[in-house]
Symmetry: C2
Subunit: 312 residues, 2 copies
Amino acid sequence: MNTNTTTHATPHPSAPQRPVIAIDWGTSSLRGARLGPMGEVLESRAWPRGILTVPPGQFEAVFHELFGDWMQAQGALCLISGMAGSRQGWQEAPYCPCPAGFAELGQHLLWLQPGRIALVPGLSCMEADTLNTPDVMRGEEVQIFGALQRTGRDSATLVLPGTHSKWVQVQSGRVTQFQTFMTGEVFAVMSQHSILGKTLDLNGDFDEATFLQGVDQSQQSGSVLHHLFAVRTLGLFERLSAAQLPSYLSGLLIGEELRQQAVSADSGPVILIGSDALTLRYTLALQRLGIACQSHGAEATWAGLFALASAC
Amino acid sequence: MNTNTTTHATPHPSAPQRPVIAIDWGTSSLRGARLGPMGEVLESRAWPRGILTVPPGQFEAVFHELFGDWMQAQGALCLISGMAGSRQGWQEAPYCPCPAGFAELGQHLLWLQPGRIALVPGLSCMEADTLNTPDVMRGEEVQIFGALQRTGRDSATLVLPGTHSKWVQVQSGRVTQFQTFMTGEVFAVMSQHSILGKTLDLNGDFDEATFLQGVDQSQQSGSVLHHLFAVRTLGLFERLSAAQLPSYLSGLLIGEELRQQAVSADSGPVILIGSDALTLRYTLALQRLGIACQSHGAEATWAGLFALASAC
């Protein structure tokens, strides 16, 4: 007889005694999850109600409209990550400067209702170059700590692909440095608003060989501003079809993002966090360059928020 | 007494005996000039009637509507350069493969009305890398030969800034290799359609110091996909104003275009051909990198077309 049949109901050693509501409120989307005592997702919701759709002063109302029922549970605790904590969001939660770890994040929560609802701050860092250029993230910090907890590692290079990809260095549990790449957004605007959009077919299926051809091109000498024009000429010379061109463009841009990364093999495989479609592409490109990696999905967000709630 | 008072009326030794109509028919604009026996502009016209505005089959009608009166002159000869010779234009004038000189260009004119109206072909080349990526130009070839004739040089590096900048190597009077950079178009789509557009003010005056700050940033290690994000963070951290950000973005992108150029000092100053506003920016950026240059304006188009007509 298995005595562990009730394991799923056994609280995690550090689990909060209170119901946890985890919310990721981004620029264009809003999703939330009601978490169980082990951090498991009991119920989840998602809407296209990103902060850009919410008029100033209406965040609290939208929050109660969409999550009010969950918040009625006795002692419910809600943590919100993402752009809701930006200047254009519910309230500005000032960036937590790097190096920063899980503890600093917890200390800098911005409480909207003390003990009940808090915004998770983003992170900022200064470029280690002579110009001291700042960089920022909001929302990814939660995924980073969530993924680290799941892997049991405290030092790693993490990549969070997306509209604005993040490359993150973590040492001894703290984010020491990170860089943002506008890869996803450059793909979107070039394929939709530039002359490249006239010849490519965004409905084309992902083509792995063509994607890798783009990755290879990106590793050649010269600037990506030049390589981009190949999307036009390879179409013009009928060396790639309209349906293949988006895969080529994607390979060019992801390859450019990877081109100058110094990934130390000592720190173990790169941890990728993102949707399956994106982590597949990054895995292919990293493998092409001989860099090992492992992928985590969006569940890293819930894991990170649950861990933060557990420490409250 | 000066015996040269009639110089302006003396035909050039190689001048055509016939009235020359020079036309530059691009993607978004159309301009034409009626040239005198020395190649001087007697009259010029310009319209926003680029090839994208002309329905298929209507090119001849538009041409006669706008230039029919000029063509009535006895023996008028008209040469048309630019996208009118593309697949989407009046008729496709196949690219002339590099290396190609002034003579090859003349041999490959596509006559629409023999001896009266011809399209100037563009140039194509194959990248000197392992992937044999093609590159193309249409219209710039005429400016190149026009500027070379004016400078008296037969070997040079030429830069034609614009939506799609061209870097061109000319040796012994022939274009041996060239590369296109989508610098101008990336500036346009990122400032109008990306998140960067939310914080920058495109009406801001050109700010030389901020432009050079962008050039300096572009020379730092790392990818332009990362540097672009500084346009957002420098605004966010109030280190640059909304009005300054376009100058910074421009410096970043032009600096990236220049970053990996191998310009040999042996071949003399770089020849810049373009509008005053653009050649000013490239001159500033090239000077910042210690590269000498000299500028030519749009008159290089008329000089090139006149020289071609003279050789017909």
